[in-house]
Amino acid sequence: MLNRKAMALVMALVMVLLMAVPAFAQEPAQIAVWVAFGTARLDWTTQKAAQFNAAFPQYNVVVEGGLTYEGLDQKIKLAAEQGTLPGIVQYNEVSTTLARDSGNFKSIADALGDRTEVNGIPANFDDFVAPVKNYYTLDGKFTSMPWNASSAVMFSNMNMLKAAGIETIPATWAEMEAACETIMGQDGHPTYCFTWPNHGWFFEQWLAQQNASMANNDNGRSARANEVAFNSDAGYATLSWLKSMYDKGYLYYGGKKDGDSWDYVDQSFLPGTEVAMAIYSSSDTAYYTNTGKTNGFDVAASRLPYNQDAAGGWTGNIIGGGSLWLVNGLTQKQEDGALTFLMWLTNTENAAEWHQITGYFPVRQSSIDLLSTDGWYDVLDAAGTSQVWKDDAAVQAGKGTSWFGANPNFIVAAQQVADSQSTPATQGAVMGAFPDIRSIVTAATDTVLLTPDADVKAILDQAVADATKLLQEYETLNAP
């Protein structure tokens, strides 16, 4: 029997529920993004997420970062085991095969379906620079969203080069040797001529320039790769060149530090007194150019020196860096939100902004075109920029002139990649156990350099045998 008290209670409950309904409908979908970056790059991403959340209040993007690529890799593996994956993760380029094989991610093409735009953001994937789009297109489907793309370049201390009478930066291995001879021949020469971080990526770049693949089956692009192939003539030539430069005292090698030897290059090149040239990744163009200026010398970026004796000369270079992957199994709203964020973060203006504060080259052709005009500052400002961008000295200094005109170092990587011929070698390898194989290459390079009278061929053959074993183990455990 419903008395008054009960009626009042029921009415109150109904009122509360009715009030809550709009709240439920408006609660923004949570999208967590895991990236590897820390410091300024993480700040940029966080600020951009805030900008996105303000423009799309139905979504709430939260960014987490501050790890190395390997650390983030671990975190993702553990989260996959526990079922706590976020909405979007970043993987570096060598983990592409692992990400694809894991089944934890949905390709962008599948998520987009037949749509041409999501939440008002057009899906203009053809605007992506071709090598970048091709790297992350697997089995004919556009799989992950390219975000930070780099290529191998060389930074030269122009003060030192000019003091030795060298006006043009060496472009080939022979020119490097000649330049080093000149530089090291004069009085008061720097301690070393050039340096490079012993990281397997550079070996892959040199191979790609000589149109040599890392693995079989067209570098894993026409069928799954199950054998490695880097003990080719090109691999032998690369390690022999490095060894001869090291033996002559031109090359400064700080140690392999298990592939994390970028610090040795920073410490030797950036003070400006020890080393004349540094082979490095274009991802730190901003850092190197600005630090050089602070330390009193001009830094000029140029393309990675290539083997002039290779059949066909210079074929092209591969990209490096990472991409963003969309996690499988999200709710429809979360997935749309994640897809929107991915497309918005890599739109023309944001890609241009990202390039300016890092040095990762702009992944969109429209971004490159925008930055070549004089009015880029106002366009970006109108679209909404991050505090990191507003605080960047080079950005403020370049207002009103063509960005690439005022900062020629920044276009080198993009041009190098754009000029590359598209062959399986330059498209980059798609193979399992790639991070481990890179470690094997790094260790082999270390052995070649540090062993006096090294038998380069034997060391390379052993490395290939070890790498093939690992690749075949990967295939046993992961092939579909």
Partner: protein, 394 residues
Amino acid sequence: MSLSTPILIMLAGALAGAGLFYGLNRRSRTALVMGALGGIAGSLLFMVPLNFCMFETERTTLDIILGLILIVVGVLLVVIPLQWLFGRFVERRIAFTGSQAGTFKGTFTPFLLLAPTIVILALFLYYPSLDTFRLSTLLYRLGAKRSAFVCLDNFTALVDPDYLRSVFITLGLSLAIVVLGLSLGLLIATAAYQPVKGARIYRTLLIWPYAVSPVVAGVVFALLFNPAGGIINYVLKNLFGITIPWLNDPTYAPWAVIIASVWKSLGFNILFYIAGLQNIPKDLTEAAAIDGANAIQRFIRVTFPLLSPITFFLIITNMTYAFFDTVGTVVYMTGGAGPLGSTNTLIFRIYQLGVQNNDLGKAAAQSIVLFLMVIGLTVIQFRTTGERVNYGGA
């Protein structure tokens, strides 16, 4: 592999077990039967979980040898405890009834009180240890779609010059760390034990490095040894005019690791030696002095032998430290395997495989080998120098 192999193995096990029991007990058929049963159980202990995989036709001699070793170990593992139990029961050397002072009256109280500890130990120590055995027979990568059973391949792959080199490097590093750590520790402890002003402060300061983790020691010494900006090379250059490529040269990199590890363990050694020195009764040294022994003779004949329990303890602890804890130092100083793999210790291999590459099968196999190695060394240690330790007074 036909059905005959397991039957042969069980027969061999039965014979071995029966023979052992009969020989040890000189008893009747009960002993024989128990021995035979124990032998069968022992021989099957390792073979059944592995499904006799190492005797299959395409396996190498090494696999078969390992299989035979496992059978022998299995038989021993079952027969020896069985023999102990058998002996106790038959000769009634322990009374399982009757209460003595200090024992619990109820049957379940002790187990209830032990339960929390046992649960935690079981979950976090025993279960992972047993799982290691399971993992060592698999090809297992974290994040892979599936795992593959590879029998003893992870173990046979270790019979290889590269792994042997790691064994030598590890043994060499450990020997250096133990010898240097103990001798320096004793020297400094003796000096710090002298009745000088402020001795207490010195002792506290000397013990401090012990509080630091091996990783921090690695980072600090990596900076000190840095070829470009490190203090050590700066001093060497200005005083002696030499430059040593500490972290880049395969001959010097292990020494850099040794120096960093000895520095870190010095605090521990000094602490224990000072405590040991305090426990030496003064009248012994005085008596020796009266008898005409000088300082060095007093040290060698009186002090050092009385410190032998501490020395023995420190050798074991330092050895454990050198085998296991130095992985942090190695990772942060020489970036892992070091120049030309000169600091590629056994524990670093396990860290690289298990933590960095997530190759858990191989890491588990190497862990088991390292574990057996350290147990073996400890047993040898107890058998040889353990005999010469004098506990307590004269």
